[in-house]
Point group: C2
Chain length 516, copies 2
């Protein structure tokens, strides 16, 4: 339990521009597809499949399903269905496919790219009522759950049994396991436990025509045919609706340490990562970096003393002083051994001047506090009105160059200032999962502004393309990045994806206007 | 370097029945597909794409390409092509697809299910001439290689750079990385480093129509569209020919320990595994079990004293005395810590009487010797004439029941005896990767025999089906298990696979008569 912020505790100021405009109005170029329109007969049909409380038509009750949690995307659905069984999902899709009614599968609705809300009047199929833990095998660590189980609930359940969910992220209190798999969520444990493509052992998926693809296997090794479940991991509900997940969970580590380090430049950050991989090896579980500006932002919302601040003044006066920071976590089975390894590592990096300052958590509370300086950046980035968020993968050596180039560009165009309130941009900051090659670039703004957008795009995407990176490391494509995939994937790859989408969903009813 | 046996050192007695019969004659029910027959014009065409030494038509030179290394499957190909570039593979397939010429992609040809050799006159496309290491990134550990690089060469290269290939298996001296990926090889490091679905970051694949699917990415996280490369991992050359692999490699562990333990029953084996997962956590890198009969077999070929034998008599007299054995390996970054953890673990399992006897390697040589008692079983199983091999995944609690049931059945039918040379079966033995839920059941026989086959099949497959296991954990389907997939996969799953095959290879030219 290292996280302080879950979705429920977030209170983010919303930007005017995004507060109430329908997605359809905001993007007038996107036209409603040639789908059926829901009529009374349809509602009657669904009423036969579902009980009254599983079917929402009241517009007030639907509001929450029509918008993402940042209220950036607002749809116009008139119908929410909340199936309780896989068979019900199958019946629903079978009918929708015949009637060409578009649907949007919705999990915890915590996504950042507008993938889980309708664009027009798509029927929302919420997985919220499918929230049972199906089984857990104590000897193998294999957990089987309904898609609608909340990630934190799954992890708490595992914790009681000495295991850990191989995925963790800020929204764990709200997001669903099914949604995590559908979006191939990355998060904070990927460095240690790998991607969901490795840990998911089986899936239950309902295809566009209602076919139930039951592949809820519990085998670590199974070489009997194409590993079809892989197609649905990260497909964002565009090929089928995930209703069940079978996943291999590792034993819960008995000892966790966190070190917070100050470094003179980005090159030292990458050197530090090399050392950590080599010396901490199997106990290294997170290696996050933050630039100074990200810490300056965080200092203004956290209002506590920065971990590496020399003085003891509380609040924003305690200005972070190093250009770069690293938060490093170890997780192991023996506290004494982990402590020794970490101490030895810290001695080495201090001695070789890779690291110039640092602190290590002495208890659970300190550990949580150190994490807030990493996890608080997302919220802090929005404190002046809004934020343009980029979640990218880049080779390590060019990773921070993107942040520098964006800062430079915004300054050259005189769009950015931390002091002048008339400038649209407050500051661009960089942080992220160095261990996974994943950078978060946040451009904190006072207002959403066409000029800023022009300055950022396609500039950011072209930078990523020229460095062979990915325009979406972990957030996915959704509605927001559908049209930018070309910066990360070749025409052949994109054509193969479109072909696959057409093959599995010929009527295009599954999550239209998004992904591919 | 824990392995003693590579393919080149194996010297396995071949069973008469399998020594020279053509696959086509052995399985008369399988008819040649409606493919084109190679003519002079075709040879001329290929001569324009390839240089003379890349094109083999001499029947003597072709022999090795026509048969698997156990000489169990013998094809009748008249043409072997050895492209040196991806473009050449593309040109070849484009032409073959137009002419409907069937092909079989061939890597190191070390498979166990006849997947890499022709059944009739398919053109062999050997990847042996594509064997360059393309690049290695020291900071991220990402290796890019041609498909034809030998696994051991890749691992040696990584070793020089402080990294390790996340896969290891007995045939490492001969098998190709491309073949490993095409068959989703499991092997000895899976418990620690996970499956190739997690570690492969990108692939270059030539599709049936010659299209080059270049997805040689080097990003640990990339959520931009369907993860298409996953389809080719474990597809055994039936969807495309893998020509390049990008893979994430972990840092090489600095310390390796092996313990060899004696246990009273199978239940204690599973208890011991639980304890090991919990106490050794992040340093546990292998947990293999062997039954007594497997050790008795191995004792007859290894001719050294069994590690847990009380007396010092050399050779077959040193009879293993416990019903079950466990070989447990730890790999970590600190020898002292690993030693302490292992000692503590061994004290615990001895004290709680889970383990009744044991020994720990003191040096590299002892470590290798201990591994021979696990690795030598495959060879030892064939010493009396032949072996029926089953490679299955089963839930841990029912895993050994399969071996017991088979032994019982063979005894009831009076087919088995270690003493009576007239009985076709010598002994059925069980061993395997407990940590991966992967059992190897070897039925050592004096002759291949229809009665034995009838006793074993479909009995074994039905047992696996009723326990929701997999009929192929890591060896794949190939030619041998094509028709048995129904025991592990549902009709829906199989239909989806067939549909996918048809979609990507409408003419069915890629590795026909196999897989699906």
């Amino acid at each position: 339990m290292l996280r302080l912020f879950t979705r429920s505790t977030r209170n983010i100021p919303l930007c005017q521009r995004f507060s109430s405009t329908l997605t359809a109005d905001k993007y007038p170029n996107i036209k409603r597809g040639d789908f059926g329109k829901i009529n009374d007969e349809d509602i009657n049909h669904f009423s036969k499949i579902l009980s009254p409380n599983q079917l929402i038509t009241d517009s007030n009750d639907i509001t929450g399903y029509n918008q993402d949690w940042m209220k950036k995307y607002i749809g116009q659905s008139k119908l929410v269905l909340k199936p309780k069984t896989t068979e019900q999902v199958s019946e629903i899709l079978k009918y929708c496919n015949q009637r060409k009614l578009a649907v949007v599968p919705q999990g915890g609705n915590t996504g950042l790219v507008g993938g889980s809300v309708p664009v027009f009047d798509e029927i929302v199929i919420s997985l919220a009522s499918m929230n049972n833990i199906r089984s857990f095998d104590q000897s193998s660590g294999i957990l089987k759950v309904d898609a609608g189980v909340i990630l934190e609930n799954a992890d708490n359940y595992l914790s009681e049994n000495g295991y850990i969910f191989p995925l963790d992220l800020g929204a764990k209190g709200s997001c669903f396991v099914g949604g995590n798999v559908a979006t191939n969520a990355g998060g904070l444990r990927l460095l240690r436990y790998g991607s969901l493509h490795g840990s998911v052992l089986g899936l239950e998926v309902v295809l566009a025509d209602g076919t139930i693809y039951n592949s809820m296997h519990s085998l670590r090794k199974d070489n009997t045919g194409y590993d079809l479940k892989q197609l649905f991991i990260g497909s964002e509900g565009s090929l089928g609706i995930i209703t069940g997940v079978s996943i291999l969970c590792p034993a819960r580590p008995k000892s966790v340490n966190v070190a917070f380090l100050g470094l003179e430049n980005y090159e030292q950050v990458t050197k530090c990562f090399q050392k950590a991989k080599s010396e901490l090896g199997e106990i290294l579980s997170a290696f996050e970096f933050m630039d100074k500006d990200s810490q300056l932002l965080a200092a203004q919302t956290l209002k506590t003393t920065h971990p590496l601040c020399q003085d003891d003044i509380e609040g924003i006066e305690s200005v972070p002083e190093y250009p770069f920071y690293v938060l490093l976590e170890t997780s192991g089975s023996n506290k004494e051994h982990d402590d020794i390894k970490l101490e030895k590592f810290l001695e080495d990096v201090m001695e070789s001047e890779i690291v110039v300052d640092g602190t290590v958590s002495q208890d659970e509370q300190q550990l949580k506090t150190l994490w807030t300086w990493r996890e608080g950046i997302a919220e802090a980035s929005q404190q002046f009105g809004g934020v343009y968020k980029y979640d990218v993968s880049l080779p390590l050596d060019s990773m921070y160059k993107l942040v520098e180039s964006v800062k430079e560009r915004l300054n050259e165009l005189e769009l950015s200032s931390t002091e002048d309130n008339k400038k649209p941009v407050y500051e661009a900051v960089g942080y992220g999962h160095i261990g996974d090659g994943n950078l978060h670039l946040n451009v904190a703004v006072r207002e959403y502004n066409k000029e800023v957008e022009k300055a950022l795009e396609p500039f950011v995407y072209e930078f990523i393309e020229s460095h062979k990176g990915s325009i979406s490391a972990e957030h996915g494509l959704g509605f927001q990045k559908k049209n930018y995939i070309k910066y990360s994937k070749s025409e052949t790859e994109i054509n193969m994806m479109k072909d696959l989408k057409k093959h599995y969903d010929p009527n295009g009813i599954l999550n239209p206007y998004k992904y591919i």
